[in-house]
């Protein structure tokens, strides 16, 4: 296993709050990972789309009920002059480092929990006449009970390839997507295993989403050596198509996504190939090879 000291020597600046800063070889490797995933996205002609770091809470009602323990809210002080003055003239921070808030403005935004959520909202009302593929990357935020450098973080980088299409087209996409990840992993000598998975729902025992994930193969995760998932392939059926009035051939679109957790790939690659950058595989060349096969 690769320890924190090893990772620090090659460019990790770890904040125990669950956040990682990168520089040097690890930063370069993160860039290569993302470029490799972009190459995979070109397999479907996916369009690159970039989004803000927050989502309207009003678009995430279901997510907030399902994952309240993971959500990070974007909040601000009530802008009334007296309220701001009360804050600025107060203690500002208590001894533990917590902010001594005065009155807050209504919280209406959530820091992105999954990169693909932006895509469905952005394509609201579209009537698709062909399968549509989008790739996007975002910094995502998920609170956890404990954090581990590169493996389980509060903030992390997620690259996604999203398919908006018919049920048959999304099924083909997911099969191809998993095969592409397998090929990439094989070419860079990173053994991975796919397995059905469930999301960490709050109170899962009677949560419809959790129950569905247990009885239907809607989520699969690829793990390296028992580590947290490096990638997940997810079928949403027409959940987002119906919610955002996105149609494909007149019916609510089916959507699916392939998601990569970039920092987890860094950990797996260093664990597999060692901390010396000279021993790391050429990820971009491997991805190019996958696409041209």
């Amino acid at each position: 296993m690769t320890g924190l000291a090893d990772l620090a020597r090659i460019g990790l600046r770890w904040d125990p709050s669950g956040q990682a800063g990168l520089h040097g070889p690890l930063l370069a490797l993160a860039g290569d990972c993302d470029r490799a995933f972009q190459h995979l996205a070109s397999r479907w002609g996916a369009s690159e789309e970039a989004y803000a770091m927050t989502l309207p809470a009003s678009s995430l009602g279901g997510h907030l009920r399902s994952f309240p323990h993971q959500v990070t809210f974007a909040m601000a002080l009530d802008p009334a002059e007296a309220n701001l003055a009360g804050f600025a003239d107060g203690t500002v921070l208590d001894r533990s480092g917590a902010v001594a808030l005065t009155r807050t403005a209504p919280v209406t935004a959530v820091l992105t929990p999954a990169a693909c959520y932006h895509v469905y909202a952005a394509h609201h009302g579209e009537q698709l006449t062909a399968a549509t593929y989008v790739t996007t990357r975002n910094t995502c935020f998920r609170r956890e009970s404990a954090y581990e450098p590169l493996r389980r973080q509060w903030t992390f980088t997620m690259r996604e390839i999203v398919c908006l299409a018919t049920a048959d087209e999304t099924a083909s996409f997911l099969a191809q997507a998993r095969a592409a990840v397998d090929q990439l992993a094989g070419l860079i000598d990173l053994p991975i295993d796919w397995a059905p998975a469930t999301d960490p729902f709050f109170r899962p025992d009677r949560h419809p989403g959790h129950l569905l994930q247990r009885i239907q193969p809607v989520k699969h995760e690829a793990a390296y050596g028992g580590s947290p998932a490096l990638a997940s392939a997810n079928l949403h059926h027409d959940h987002f198509g119906s919610a955002y009035a996105i149609t494909r051939d007149g019916a609510p679109a089916t959507t699916a996504c392939l998601a990569f957790g970039v920092e987890r790939w860094l950990h797996a690659l260093v664990d597999r190939h060692g901390p010396d950058p000279d021993g790391w595989p050429d990820l971009v060349a491997a991805a190019r090879q996958v696409v041209t096969r």
């Binding site: 419809p208 569905l212 009885i215």
Partner: protein, 80 residues
């Protein structure tokens, strides 16, 4: 615990109530075809627990367990 025949009859009533006019047989893959959806699962599990007279451990559920009345009777018709 009810007999498999009684469980099957109750499940047919439940499925008919949620699928309306769609023709459904005991081997119709109800969730694969999206005739039943995730929102129906909690009520379906409570119904099965009542019919079999024993709780269902959600963490022991497997892919396919609910995909048809035949599958549900085979999986939950007899206490483990």
């Amino acid at each position: 615990m009810r007999s498999d025949t009684e469980i099957r009859a109750e499940l047919r009533t439940f499925v008919r109530r949620h699928t309306g006019q769609v023709a459904v047989t005991d081997d119709t893959p109800l969730f694969t075809l999206r005739l039943l959806r995730s929102v129906h699962l909690p009520e379906l599990i409570i119904l099965l627990e009542r019919l079999r007279g024993a709780p269902i451990d959600v963490e022991q559920l497997r892919i396919g367990d609910f995909d048809g009345i035949d599958a549900m009777v085979a999986r939950f018709g007899r206490q483990p």
